[in-house]
Amino acid sequence: MVRARVGPAPSKGGCAPRPIGAAAARDAIWCSRLSKSYGQRAALRSVSLRISPGEVVGLLGPNGAGKTTLVKMLVGLVRPDSGEALVLGAPLGLPEARREMGYLPELFRYQPWLNVVEVLELHARLRRVARADRPGEVRRALALAGLADRGPDRVANLSKGLQQRLGLAVALLGHPRLLLLDEPTSALDPTGRADVRSLIDQCRAEGTTVLLNSHMLSEVERSCDRVIVLDKGRVLADGPLGAWLDHDVLRVRLEGEAAHFVPYLAGFGEVSAHGQELTVPSLAMSLVPEVVAALVGAGARVVSVEPGQVSLEEKLLELLARSDEADA
Protein backbone atom coordinates (compact mmCIF):
# COMPACT_ATOMS: atom_id res chain seq x y z
CA MET A 1 0.00 0.00 0.00
CA VAL A 2 1.30 3.45 -0.82
CA ARG A 3 1.55 5.57 2.31
CA ALA A 4 1.03 9.29 2.18
CA ARG A 5 3.90 11.45 3.26
CA VAL A 6 2.37 14.50 4.75
CA GLY A 7 5.59 16.16 5.69
CA PRO A 8 8.94 16.97 4.21
CA ALA A 9 10.48 13.62 5.25
CA PRO A 10 12.85 12.20 2.65
CA SER A 11 11.43 9.54 0.35
CA LYS A 12 12.43 5.91 0.76
CA GLY A 13 13.21 3.20 -1.71
CA GLY A 14 16.78 3.43 -2.91
CA CYS A 15 16.61 6.96 -4.32
CA ALA A 16 18.54 9.71 -2.66
CA PRO A 17 16.35 11.80 -0.35
CA ARG A 18 14.77 14.67 -2.23
CA PRO A 19 14.56 17.55 0.17
CA ILE A 20 11.79 20.05 -0.34
CA GLY A 21 13.51 23.24 -1.36
CA ALA A 22 13.40 26.52 0.45
CA ALA A 23 11.36 27.94 -2.43
CA ALA A 24 8.63 25.35 -1.81
CA ALA A 25 8.57 26.27 1.86
CA ARG A 26 8.07 29.91 0.88
CA ASP A 27 5.09 29.08 -1.35
CA ALA A 28 1.66 29.56 0.16
CA ILE A 29 0.75 26.13 -1.22
CA TRP A 30 3.14 23.56 -2.60
CA CYS A 31 1.85 20.14 -3.63
CA SER A 32 3.67 17.32 -5.33
CA ARG A 33 1.91 14.31 -6.81
CA LEU A 34 -1.03 14.25 -4.42
CA SER A 35 -3.33 11.31 -5.06
CA LYS A 36 -6.48 10.14 -3.38
CA SER A 37 -8.93 7.35 -4.16
CA TYR A 38 -12.28 6.43 -2.66
CA GLY A 39 -12.55 2.73 -3.29
CA GLN A 40 -12.05 2.19 -7.01
CA ARG A 41 -12.71 5.82 -7.88
CA ALA A 42 -9.71 8.13 -8.13
CA ALA A 43 -10.57 11.57 -6.77
CA LEU A 44 -7.10 13.07 -7.30
CA ARG A 45 -4.38 11.72 -9.55
CA SER A 46 -0.86 12.97 -8.97
CA VAL A 47 -1.79 16.63 -8.55
CA SER A 48 1.17 18.99 -8.38
CA LEU A 49 0.86 22.74 -8.07
CA ARG A 50 2.40 25.79 -6.49
CA ILE A 51 0.67 28.95 -5.39
CA SER A 52 2.78 31.94 -4.42
CA PRO A 53 1.98 34.24 -1.53
CA GLY A 54 -0.51 36.93 -2.52
CA GLU A 55 -1.88 35.12 -5.58
CA VAL A 56 -5.63 34.88 -6.14
CA VAL A 57 -6.22 31.57 -7.87
CA GLY A 58 -9.42 30.12 -9.25
CA LEU A 59 -9.96 26.37 -9.04
CA LEU A 60 -12.27 25.21 -11.81
CA GLY A 61 -13.58 21.96 -13.13
CA PRO A 62 -16.77 19.96 -13.60
CA ASN A 63 -18.61 18.26 -10.74
CA GLY A 64 -16.57 15.36 -9.39
CA ALA A 65 -13.30 16.74 -10.77
CA GLY A 66 -11.66 16.58 -7.32
CA LYS A 67 -11.74 20.31 -6.45
CA THR A 68 -13.35 19.95 -3.03
CA THR A 69 -11.19 16.91 -2.23
CA LEU A 70 -8.09 18.99 -3.01
CA VAL A 71 -9.29 21.89 -0.85
CA LYS A 72 -10.16 19.54 2.03
CA MET A 73 -6.75 17.94 1.68
CA LEU A 74 -5.06 21.34 1.95
CA VAL A 75 -7.09 22.05 5.09
CA GLY A 76 -6.05 18.68 6.56
CA LEU A 77 -9.52 17.16 6.61
CA VAL A 78 -8.68 14.50 4.01
CA ARG A 79 -5.44 12.51 3.93
CA PRO A 80 -3.67 11.90 0.62
CA ASP A 81 -2.97 8.29 -0.35
CA SER A 82 0.39 9.46 -1.70
CA GLY A 83 2.27 12.63 -2.45
CA GLU A 84 3.50 15.44 -0.28
CA ALA A 85 2.57 19.04 0.34
CA LEU A 86 3.36 22.14 2.34
CA VAL A 87 0.79 24.73 3.29
CA LEU A 88 2.24 28.03 4.47
CA GLY A 89 5.52 26.17 4.89
CA ALA A 90 4.09 23.53 7.23
CA PRO A 91 3.49 19.88 6.37
CA LEU A 92 -0.02 19.05 5.29
CA GLY A 93 -2.35 17.89 8.05
CA LEU A 94 -0.48 19.41 10.98
CA PRO A 95 -2.15 22.10 13.10
CA GLU A 96 0.75 24.44 12.18
CA ALA A 97 -0.45 24.38 8.56
CA ARG A 98 -3.87 25.64 9.71
CA ARG A 99 -2.61 28.31 12.07
CA GLU A 100 -2.93 31.18 9.58
CA MET A 101 -5.53 29.71 7.29
CA GLY A 102 -9.14 30.73 6.80
CA TYR A 103 -11.53 28.17 5.33
CA LEU A 104 -15.10 28.45 4.13
CA PRO A 105 -16.37 24.93 3.48
CA GLU A 106 -18.78 24.11 0.70
CA LEU A 107 -21.09 22.74 3.40
CA PHE A 108 -21.20 25.69 5.78
CA ARG A 109 -22.83 24.70 9.07
CA TYR A 110 -22.28 26.21 12.49
CA GLN A 111 -23.63 25.37 15.94
CA PRO A 112 -27.33 26.28 15.63
CA TRP A 113 -27.63 26.81 19.39
CA LEU A 114 -24.96 29.55 19.45
CA ASN A 115 -25.45 33.11 18.30
CA VAL A 116 -23.34 34.75 15.59
CA VAL A 117 -20.94 36.48 18.00
CA GLU A 118 -20.49 33.29 20.04
CA VAL A 119 -19.54 31.32 16.90
CA LEU A 120 -16.95 33.95 16.02
CA GLU A 121 -15.60 34.10 19.57
CA LEU A 122 -15.25 30.32 19.58
CA HIS A 123 -13.28 30.38 16.33
CA ALA A 124 -11.21 33.36 17.50
CA ARG A 125 -10.18 31.36 20.58
CA LEU A 126 -9.33 28.30 18.47
CA ARG A 127 -7.45 30.60 16.05
CA ARG A 128 -5.42 31.84 19.06
CA VAL A 129 -6.47 35.47 18.67
CA ALA A 130 -5.27 37.24 21.82
CA ARG A 131 -8.03 37.76 24.39
CA ALA A 132 -7.70 41.55 24.25
CA ASP A 133 -7.97 41.57 20.46
CA ARG A 134 -10.98 39.24 20.22
CA PRO A 135 -13.84 41.74 20.49
CA GLY A 136 -12.29 43.99 17.85
CA GLU A 137 -11.49 41.05 15.59
CA VAL A 138 -15.05 39.72 15.88
CA ARG A 139 -16.46 43.17 15.04
CA ARG A 140 -14.14 43.44 12.02
CA ALA A 141 -15.16 40.02 10.70
CA LEU A 142 -18.85 40.82 11.21
CA ALA A 143 -18.49 44.08 9.30
CA LEU A 144 -16.53 42.45 6.46
CA ALA A 145 -19.18 39.78 6.02
CA GLY A 146 -22.06 42.24 6.21
CA LEU A 147 -23.34 40.86 9.52
CA ALA A 148 -22.69 43.90 11.71
CA ASP A 149 -26.28 43.98 13.01
CA ARG A 150 -26.70 40.20 13.31
CA GLY A 151 -24.38 39.53 16.25
CA PRO A 152 -27.03 38.47 18.79
CA ASP A 153 -29.00 36.30 16.31
CA ARG A 154 -29.03 32.56 16.85
CA VAL A 155 -27.46 30.64 13.95
CA ALA A 156 -30.61 28.50 13.76
CA ASN A 157 -32.59 31.65 12.88
CA LEU A 158 -30.30 32.78 10.05
CA SER A 159 -31.19 32.24 6.40
CA LYS A 160 -28.90 30.08 4.30
CA GLY A 161 -27.34 33.15 2.71
CA LEU A 162 -26.65 34.73 6.11
CA GLN A 163 -25.13 31.47 7.32
CA GLN A 164 -22.78 31.58 4.34
CA ARG A 165 -21.88 35.15 5.28
CA LEU A 166 -21.18 33.84 8.79
CA GLY A 167 -18.90 31.25 7.20
CA LEU A 168 -17.03 34.05 5.44
CA ALA A 169 -16.70 35.96 8.71
CA VAL A 170 -15.32 32.82 10.39
CA ALA A 171 -12.83 32.36 7.53
CA LEU A 172 -11.69 35.99 7.72
CA LEU A 173 -11.06 35.98 11.48
CA GLY A 174 -7.54 36.85 12.52
CA HIS A 175 -6.25 38.13 9.17
CA PRO A 176 -5.40 34.74 7.63
CA ARG A 177 -2.43 34.56 5.25
CA LEU A 178 -4.23 31.91 3.19
CA LEU A 179 -7.94 31.88 2.42
CA LEU A 180 -9.56 28.74 1.00
CA LEU A 181 -13.06 29.47 -0.28
CA ASP A 182 -15.10 26.51 -1.46
CA GLU A 183 -18.11 27.79 -3.43
CA PRO A 184 -18.32 30.99 -1.35
CA THR A 185 -21.33 32.45 -3.15
CA SER A 186 -23.51 29.37 -3.66
CA ALA A 187 -26.23 30.71 -1.33
CA LEU A 188 -25.73 34.44 -1.81
CA ASP A 189 -27.90 36.96 -3.60
CA PRO A 190 -26.35 39.33 -6.22
CA THR A 191 -25.45 41.85 -3.52
CA GLY A 192 -23.75 39.13 -1.53
CA ARG A 193 -21.81 37.97 -4.57
CA ALA A 194 -20.63 41.52 -5.20
CA ASP A 195 -19.58 41.74 -1.54
CA VAL A 196 -17.52 38.57 -1.91
CA ARG A 197 -15.79 40.03 -4.98
CA SER A 198 -14.92 43.17 -2.98
CA LEU A 199 -13.66 40.99 -0.13
CA ILE A 200 -11.39 39.09 -2.48
CA ASP A 201 -10.12 42.38 -3.92
CA GLN A 202 -9.42 43.56 -0.39
CA CYS A 203 -7.59 40.31 0.41
CA ARG A 204 -5.50 40.74 -2.74
CA ALA A 205 -4.62 44.29 -1.68
CA GLU A 206 -3.57 43.03 1.77
CA GLY A 207 -1.39 40.30 0.23
CA THR A 208 -3.58 37.37 1.32
CA THR A 209 -3.35 34.28 -0.84
CA VAL A 210 -6.79 33.15 -2.00
CA LEU A 211 -7.79 29.82 -3.52
CA LEU A 212 -11.30 30.19 -4.88
CA ASN A 213 -13.17 27.04 -5.84
CA SER A 214 -16.23 28.15 -7.74
CA HIS A 215 -18.61 27.23 -10.51
CA MET A 216 -19.45 30.93 -10.91
CA LEU A 217 -17.08 31.60 -13.79
CA SER A 218 -17.89 35.30 -13.91
CA GLU A 219 -16.61 35.57 -10.33
CA VAL A 220 -13.39 33.78 -11.19
CA GLU A 221 -13.01 35.92 -14.31
CA ARG A 222 -13.36 39.10 -12.29
CA SER A 223 -11.37 38.12 -9.20
CA CYS A 224 -8.56 35.73 -10.07
CA ASP A 225 -5.05 36.22 -11.43
CA ARG A 226 -4.62 32.62 -12.32
CA VAL A 227 -6.77 29.59 -13.00
CA ILE A 228 -6.18 25.90 -12.31
CA VAL A 229 -8.52 23.49 -14.06
CA LEU A 230 -9.06 20.03 -12.61
CA ASP A 231 -10.77 17.24 -14.50
CA LYS A 232 -11.10 13.63 -13.40
CA GLY A 233 -8.66 14.31 -10.58
CA ARG A 234 -5.88 15.67 -12.83
CA VAL A 235 -4.60 19.19 -13.42
CA LEU A 236 -5.83 19.89 -16.92
CA ALA A 237 -4.55 23.44 -17.19
CA ASP A 238 -2.79 25.95 -15.00
CA GLY A 239 -2.01 29.47 -16.13
CA PRO A 240 -2.59 33.19 -15.85
CA LEU A 241 -6.15 34.15 -16.59
CA GLY A 242 -5.11 37.04 -18.85
CA ALA A 243 -3.24 34.75 -21.24
CA TRP A 244 -6.34 32.58 -21.58
CA LEU A 245 -8.82 35.29 -22.28
CA ASP A 246 -6.70 37.60 -24.42
CA HIS A 247 -7.96 36.17 -27.71
CA ASP A 248 -10.21 37.96 -30.21
CA VAL A 249 -13.09 35.93 -31.55
CA LEU A 250 -16.04 36.47 -33.85
CA ARG A 251 -19.43 35.38 -32.53
CA VAL A 252 -22.05 34.54 -35.14
CA ARG A 253 -25.60 33.92 -33.95
CA LEU A 254 -27.79 31.81 -36.22
CA GLU A 255 -31.40 30.75 -36.36
CA GLY A 256 -31.42 27.10 -35.25
CA GLU A 257 -28.64 24.69 -34.31
CA ALA A 258 -25.19 26.10 -35.12
CA ALA A 259 -23.20 22.87 -34.96
CA HIS A 260 -24.52 21.83 -38.39
CA PHE A 261 -22.60 24.71 -40.08
CA VAL A 262 -19.19 24.17 -38.45
CA PRO A 263 -17.85 22.15 -41.46
CA TYR A 264 -18.63 25.06 -43.81
CA LEU A 265 -16.15 27.26 -41.91
CA ALA A 266 -13.29 24.78 -42.00
CA GLY A 267 -10.98 27.33 -43.59
CA PHE A 268 -11.36 29.83 -40.74
CA GLY A 269 -9.61 27.92 -37.93
CA GLU A 270 -10.99 25.89 -35.05
CA VAL A 271 -14.65 26.96 -35.06
CA SER A 272 -16.79 25.87 -32.11
CA ALA A 273 -20.58 25.78 -31.72
CA HIS A 274 -22.68 26.26 -28.58
CA GLY A 275 -26.42 26.13 -29.16
CA GLN A 276 -27.27 28.75 -31.77
CA GLU A 277 -23.85 30.43 -31.64
CA LEU A 278 -20.67 29.84 -33.62
CA THR A 279 -17.33 31.10 -32.29
CA VAL A 280 -14.64 31.74 -34.88
CA PRO A 281 -11.17 32.26 -33.30
CA SER A 282 -8.59 35.00 -34.03
CA LEU A 283 -10.18 36.30 -37.19
CA ALA A 284 -9.08 39.44 -39.04
CA MET A 285 -12.00 41.83 -39.44
CA SER A 286 -11.48 41.89 -43.21
CA LEU A 287 -12.55 38.24 -43.35
CA VAL A 288 -15.91 38.77 -41.60
CA PRO A 289 -17.89 39.21 -44.89
CA GLU A 290 -16.40 35.93 -46.14
CA VAL A 291 -17.53 34.07 -43.01
CA VAL A 292 -21.05 35.44 -43.38
CA ALA A 293 -21.09 34.62 -47.10
CA ALA A 294 -19.98 31.02 -46.39
CA LEU A 295 -22.73 30.57 -43.88
CA VAL A 296 -25.44 32.12 -46.04
CA GLY A 297 -24.21 30.01 -48.93
CA ALA A 298 -24.66 26.91 -46.75
CA GLY A 299 -28.24 27.90 -46.03
CA ALA A 300 -27.76 29.44 -42.58
CA ARG A 301 -29.88 32.40 -41.46
CA VAL A 302 -27.49 34.80 -39.71
CA VAL A 303 -29.07 36.78 -36.86
CA SER A 304 -26.07 38.72 -35.61
CA VAL A 305 -22.30 39.00 -36.01
CA GLU A 306 -20.14 40.58 -33.29
CA PRO A 307 -16.44 40.66 -32.48
CA GLY A 308 -15.43 39.87 -28.89
CA GLN A 309 -13.02 38.01 -26.67
CA VAL A 310 -13.07 34.38 -25.67
CA SER A 311 -14.89 33.88 -22.35
CA LEU A 312 -13.70 31.71 -19.49
CA GLU A 313 -16.69 29.46 -20.01
CA GLU A 314 -15.76 28.90 -23.65
CA LYS A 315 -12.16 28.24 -22.74
CA LEU A 316 -13.16 25.82 -19.98
CA LEU A 317 -15.62 23.94 -22.20
CA GLU A 318 -13.01 23.70 -24.93
CA LEU A 319 -10.44 22.31 -22.48
CA LEU A 320 -12.89 19.77 -21.10
CA ALA A 321 -14.00 18.71 -24.58
CA ARG A 322 -10.37 18.18 -25.60
CA SER A 323 -9.75 16.21 -22.43
CA ASP A 324 -12.77 13.98 -23.15
CA GLU A 325 -11.57 13.45 -26.72
CA ALA A 326 -8.09 12.55 -25.51
CA ASP A 327 -9.54 10.07 -22.99
CA ALA A 328 -11.76 8.54 -25.66
Partner: protein, 283 residues
Protein backbone atom coordinates in the same frame (compact mmCIF):
# COMPACT_ATOMS: atom_id res chain seq x y z
CA UNK B 1 -5.01 21.81 27.26
CA UNK B 2 -6.71 25.10 26.37
CA UNK B 3 -8.37 23.54 23.34
CA UNK B 4 -9.57 20.58 25.43
CA UNK B 5 -11.21 22.99 27.86
CA UNK B 6 -12.76 24.99 25.00
CA UNK B 7 -14.43 21.86 23.62
CA UNK B 8 -15.44 20.67 27.11
CA UNK B 9 -17.13 24.00 27.80
CA UNK B 10 -18.79 23.90 24.39
CA UNK B 11 -20.22 20.44 25.13
CA UNK B 12 -21.66 21.53 28.49
CA UNK B 13 -23.05 24.71 26.92
CA UNK B 14 -24.70 22.73 24.13
CA UNK B 15 -26.43 20.45 26.63
CA UNK B 16 -27.71 23.44 28.54
CA UNK B 17 -28.86 25.33 25.43
CA UNK B 18 -30.55 22.27 23.98
CA UNK B 19 -32.36 21.88 27.33
CA UNK B 20 -31.04 18.33 27.84
CA UNK B 21 -29.72 19.27 31.27
CA UNK B 22 -33.01 20.78 32.33
CA UNK B 23 -34.96 17.79 31.05
CA UNK B 24 -32.73 15.46 33.10
CA UNK B 25 -33.00 17.64 36.18
CA UNK B 26 -36.81 17.86 35.77
CA UNK B 27 -37.21 14.10 35.48
CA UNK B 28 -34.86 13.53 38.39
CA UNK B 29 -36.75 16.06 40.53
CA UNK B 30 -39.98 14.21 39.79
CA UNK B 31 -38.49 10.85 40.81
CA UNK B 32 -36.86 12.30 43.94
CA UNK B 33 -40.06 14.11 44.96
CA UNK B 34 -42.22 11.01 44.59
CA UNK B 35 -39.68 8.76 46.32
CA UNK B 36 -39.28 11.21 49.23
CA UNK B 37 -43.05 11.14 49.68
CA UNK B 38 -42.92 7.33 49.69
CA UNK B 39 -39.93 7.11 52.05
CA UNK B 40 -41.60 9.51 54.48
CA UNK B 41 -44.68 7.25 54.64
CA UNK B 42 -42.69 4.00 55.02
CA UNK B 43 -42.18 4.04 58.82
CA UNK B 44 -45.96 4.39 59.30
CA UNK B 45 -46.85 1.45 57.04
CA UNK B 46 -48.72 -1.40 58.77
CA UNK B 47 -48.57 -5.00 57.55
CA UNK B 48 -51.39 -7.22 58.82
CA UNK B 49 -52.19 -4.53 61.37
CA UNK B 50 -48.63 -4.41 62.72
CA UNK B 51 -46.22 -1.51 62.17
CA UNK B 52 -42.98 -2.39 60.34
CA UNK B 53 -40.10 -3.03 62.70
CA UNK B 54 -36.74 -1.27 62.30
CA UNK B 55 -35.15 -4.25 60.52
CA UNK B 56 -38.01 -4.63 58.05
CA UNK B 57 -38.22 -0.88 57.52
CA UNK B 58 -34.48 -0.73 56.78
CA UNK B 59 -34.79 -3.67 54.40
CA UNK B 60 -37.68 -2.01 52.57
CA UNK B 61 -35.84 1.32 52.44
CA UNK B 62 -32.64 -0.26 51.11
CA UNK B 63 -34.62 -2.12 48.48
CA UNK B 64 -36.67 0.94 47.49
CA UNK B 65 -33.56 3.09 47.36
CA UNK B 66 -32.00 0.53 45.04
CA UNK B 67 -35.04 0.65 42.76
CA UNK B 68 -35.17 4.44 42.72
CA UNK B 69 -31.44 4.84 42.11
CA UNK B 70 -31.75 2.31 39.31
CA UNK B 71 -34.55 4.43 37.79
CA UNK B 72 -32.36 7.54 38.14
CA UNK B 73 -29.35 5.80 36.65
CA UNK B 74 -31.54 4.59 33.79
CA UNK B 75 -32.78 8.15 33.14
CA UNK B 76 -29.15 9.31 33.32
CA UNK B 77 -28.02 6.50 31.03
CA UNK B 78 -30.69 7.36 28.48
CA UNK B 79 -29.84 11.05 28.74
CA UNK B 80 -26.08 10.62 28.50
CA UNK B 81 -26.39 8.12 25.64
CA UNK B 82 -28.49 10.50 23.61
CA UNK B 83 -26.26 13.46 24.45
CA UNK B 84 -23.05 11.57 23.65
CA UNK B 85 -24.35 9.70 20.60
CA UNK B 86 -24.52 12.69 18.20
CA UNK B 87 -21.37 14.31 19.59
CA UNK B 88 -19.05 13.12 16.84
CA UNK B 89 -21.30 11.54 14.21
CA UNK B 90 -23.82 14.40 14.33
CA UNK B 91 -21.21 17.09 13.79
CA UNK B 92 -19.59 15.12 10.98
CA UNK B 93 -22.95 14.46 9.36
CA UNK B 94 -24.19 18.04 9.63
CA UNK B 95 -20.92 19.66 8.53
CA UNK B 96 -20.33 21.57 11.81
CA UNK B 97 -17.08 19.59 12.23
CA UNK B 98 -15.63 20.96 8.97
CA UNK B 99 -14.95 24.46 10.22
CA UNK B 100 -13.84 23.29 13.69
CA UNK B 101 -11.36 20.72 12.39
CA UNK B 102 -9.97 23.35 9.99
CA UNK B 103 -8.65 25.26 13.01
CA UNK B 104 -5.17 24.61 14.43
CA UNK B 105 -6.44 21.92 16.80
CA UNK B 106 -5.60 18.25 17.08
CA UNK B 107 -8.40 15.74 16.78
CA UNK B 108 -7.32 14.25 20.11
CA UNK B 109 -7.99 17.66 21.70
CA UNK B 110 -11.47 17.80 20.15
CA UNK B 111 -12.26 14.28 21.34
CA UNK B 112 -10.88 14.67 24.85
CA UNK B 113 -12.65 18.01 25.21
CA UNK B 114 -15.98 16.53 24.24
CA UNK B 115 -15.39 13.51 26.50
CA UNK B 116 -14.45 15.75 29.41
CA UNK B 117 -17.56 17.89 28.90
CA UNK B 118 -19.75 14.80 28.92
CA UNK B 119 -18.00 13.46 32.03
CA UNK B 120 -18.61 16.77 33.82
CA UNK B 121 -22.30 16.57 32.89
CA UNK B 122 -22.65 12.93 33.96
CA UNK B 123 -20.80 13.34 37.24
CA UNK B 124 -22.70 16.53 38.11
CA UNK B 125 -26.01 14.78 37.38
CA UNK B 126 -25.14 11.71 39.46
CA UNK B 127 -23.68 13.66 42.39
CA UNK B 128 -26.62 16.05 42.62
CA UNK B 129 -29.40 13.59 41.89
CA UNK B 130 -27.90 10.53 43.63
CA UNK B 131 -26.94 12.62 46.64
CA UNK B 132 -30.43 14.13 46.83
CA UNK B 133 -32.04 10.68 46.60
CA UNK B 134 -29.88 9.22 49.37
CA UNK B 135 -30.60 12.29 51.49
CA UNK B 136 -34.35 11.84 50.82
CA UNK B 137 -34.19 8.20 51.98
CA UNK B 138 -32.21 9.04 55.09
CA UNK B 139 -34.43 11.99 56.00
CA UNK B 140 -37.69 10.12 55.33
CA UNK B 141 -36.89 6.86 57.12
CA UNK B 142 -33.85 7.38 59.31
CA UNK B 143 -32.06 4.60 57.41
CA UNK B 144 -28.37 5.47 57.11
CA UNK B 145 -26.73 4.40 53.87
CA UNK B 146 -23.44 2.76 54.88
CA UNK B 147 -21.23 4.13 52.07
CA UNK B 148 -23.02 6.99 50.32
CA UNK B 149 -19.83 8.44 48.78
CA UNK B 150 -18.82 5.07 47.32
CA UNK B 151 -22.36 4.55 46.02
CA UNK B 152 -22.42 7.91 44.25
CA UNK B 153 -18.85 7.51 42.94
CA UNK B 154 -19.64 4.09 41.44
CA UNK B 155 -22.89 5.42 39.99
CA UNK B 156 -20.87 8.21 38.36
CA UNK B 157 -18.33 5.68 37.09
CA UNK B 158 -21.19 3.67 35.54
CA UNK B 159 -22.38 6.80 33.69
CA UNK B 160 -18.85 7.59 32.50
CA UNK B 161 -18.48 4.05 31.17
CA UNK B 162 -21.76 4.33 29.29
CA UNK B 163 -21.10 7.78 27.81
CA UNK B 164 -17.64 6.63 26.67
CA UNK B 165 -19.25 3.69 24.92
CA UNK B 166 -21.80 6.05 23.32
CA UNK B 167 -18.95 8.30 22.16
CA UNK B 168 -17.18 5.34 20.54
CA UNK B 169 -20.41 4.32 18.84
CA UNK B 170 -20.84 7.95 17.73
CA UNK B 171 -17.60 7.70 15.78
CA UNK B 172 -18.77 4.50 14.08
CA UNK B 173 -22.52 4.90 13.51
CA UNK B 174 -25.10 7.52 12.68
CA UNK B 175 -26.23 9.56 15.71
CA UNK B 176 -29.59 7.81 16.01
CA UNK B 177 -28.09 4.32 15.68
CA UNK B 178 -25.34 5.16 18.19
CA UNK B 179 -27.92 6.25 20.80
CA UNK B 180 -30.13 3.21 20.25
CA UNK B 181 -27.22 0.77 20.38
CA UNK B 182 -25.73 2.38 23.51
CA UNK B 183 -29.03 2.16 25.42
CA UNK B 184 -29.63 -1.33 24.03
CA UNK B 185 -26.21 -2.51 25.24
CA UNK B 186 -26.80 -0.94 28.66
CA UNK B 187 -30.10 -2.83 28.97
CA UNK B 188 -28.58 -6.04 27.67
CA UNK B 189 -25.71 -5.82 30.14
CA UNK B 190 -28.18 -5.37 33.00
CA UNK B 191 -30.23 -8.39 31.89
CA UNK B 192 -27.07 -10.49 31.46
CA UNK B 193 -26.02 -9.44 34.97
CA UNK B 194 -29.41 -10.63 36.29
CA UNK B 195 -28.95 -13.96 34.54
CA UNK B 196 -25.54 -14.31 36.18
CA UNK B 197 -27.08 -13.54 39.62
CA UNK B 198 -29.77 -16.15 39.05
CA UNK B 199 -27.05 -18.62 38.07
CA UNK B 200 -25.25 -17.87 41.35
CA UNK B 201 -28.41 -18.41 43.40
CA UNK B 202 -29.01 -21.74 41.65
CA UNK B 203 -25.32 -22.68 42.03
CA UNK B 204 -25.10 -23.17 38.26
CA UNK B 205 -21.57 -22.09 37.37
CA UNK B 206 -22.13 -21.93 33.60
CA UNK B 207 -25.13 -19.59 33.97
CA UNK B 208 -23.25 -17.58 36.61
CA UNK B 209 -20.41 -17.10 34.11
CA UNK B 210 -22.81 -15.16 31.87
CA UNK B 211 -22.75 -12.44 34.52
CA UNK B 212 -18.96 -12.56 34.87
CA UNK B 213 -18.43 -12.26 31.12
CA UNK B 214 -21.03 -9.48 30.95
CA UNK B 215 -19.23 -7.55 33.70
CA UNK B 216 -15.96 -7.83 31.81
CA UNK B 217 -17.34 -6.88 28.39
CA UNK B 218 -19.33 -3.87 29.62
CA UNK B 219 -18.70 -2.86 33.24
CA UNK B 220 -21.97 -0.94 33.74
CA UNK B 221 -23.75 -3.77 35.57
CA UNK B 222 -20.63 -4.72 37.52
CA UNK B 223 -20.34 -1.15 38.79
CA UNK B 224 -24.06 -1.12 39.52
CA UNK B 225 -23.53 -4.14 41.79
CA UNK B 226 -20.93 -2.07 43.63
CA UNK B 227 -23.50 0.71 44.07
CA UNK B 228 -25.96 -1.76 45.56
CA UNK B 229 -23.39 -3.13 47.94
CA UNK B 230 -22.55 0.37 49.11
CA UNK B 231 -26.22 1.08 49.86
CA UNK B 232 -26.82 -1.93 52.13
CA UNK B 233 -26.16 -2.05 55.85
CA UNK B 234 -23.74 -4.87 56.59
CA UNK B 235 -25.64 -6.07 59.64
CA UNK B 236 -28.88 -5.92 57.66
CA UNK B 237 -27.37 -8.06 54.97
CA UNK B 238 -25.90 -10.59 57.39
CA UNK B 239 -29.39 -11.35 58.69
CA UNK B 240 -31.02 -11.56 55.27
CA UNK B 241 -28.24 -12.52 52.88
CA UNK B 242 -29.13 -16.18 52.43
CA UNK B 243 -32.54 -15.21 51.14
CA UNK B 244 -31.23 -12.32 49.04
CA UNK B 245 -28.60 -14.11 47.00
CA UNK B 246 -29.52 -13.62 43.34
CA UNK B 247 -31.51 -10.44 43.98
CA UNK B 248 -29.97 -7.77 41.71
CA UNK B 249 -30.83 -5.04 44.20
CA UNK B 250 -28.82 -6.60 47.02
CA UNK B 251 -25.14 -7.40 46.81
CA UNK B 252 -23.33 -9.04 49.68
CA UNK B 253 -19.84 -8.50 48.30
CA UNK B 254 -18.16 -5.27 47.27
CA UNK B 255 -16.13 -4.69 44.11
CA UNK B 256 -12.54 -5.83 44.11
CA UNK B 257 -9.63 -3.54 43.31
CA UNK B 258 -8.90 -5.81 40.34
CA UNK B 259 -12.37 -5.24 38.95
CA UNK B 260 -12.11 -1.47 39.42
CA UNK B 261 -8.74 -1.52 37.66
CA UNK B 262 -10.30 -3.57 34.85
CA UNK B 263 -13.09 -0.99 34.53
CA UNK B 264 -10.52 1.83 34.35
CA UNK B 265 -8.53 -0.05 31.71
CA UNK B 266 -11.76 -0.71 29.77
CA UNK B 267 -12.48 3.03 29.84
CA UNK B 268 -9.01 3.95 28.59
CA UNK B 269 -9.24 1.35 25.81
CA UNK B 270 -12.64 2.65 24.65
CA UNK B 271 -11.48 6.28 24.60
CA UNK B 272 -8.30 5.22 22.73
CA UNK B 273 -10.39 3.27 20.20
CA UNK B 274 -12.61 6.32 19.71
CA UNK B 275 -9.53 8.46 19.09
CA UNK B 276 -8.16 5.93 16.62
CA UNK B 277 -11.43 5.95 14.72
CA UNK B 278 -11.97 9.74 14.90
CA UNK B 279 -8.42 10.49 13.73
CA UNK B 280 -9.10 8.51 10.53
CA UNK B 281 -12.48 10.00 9.72
CA UNK B 282 -12.50 12.19 6.60
CA UNK B 283 -15.45 14.57 6.83
Amino acid sequence: MTNILIFARLTVLESARRKVLWALVGLAALIIGLSFWGFARLPAVHVFGTQLGAANSNLATAQLLGFVLFALSFVGALGMSFVAAPTIGGELESGVALSLLARPVRRSEVLLGKWLGLVVLAVAYVVIVGGAEIAAAETGTGYLVPNPVTAVALLAAQSVVLLSLALLLSSLLSPMAAGVVAVGLFGTAWVAGLVGDVGQSLHDSSVAEVGTIDHLLLPTDGLWNGVMNALDQTNLMSSFSDRLVGNPFFQTSGLTITYLAWSAAWLVAVVAATHLRFSRVEP
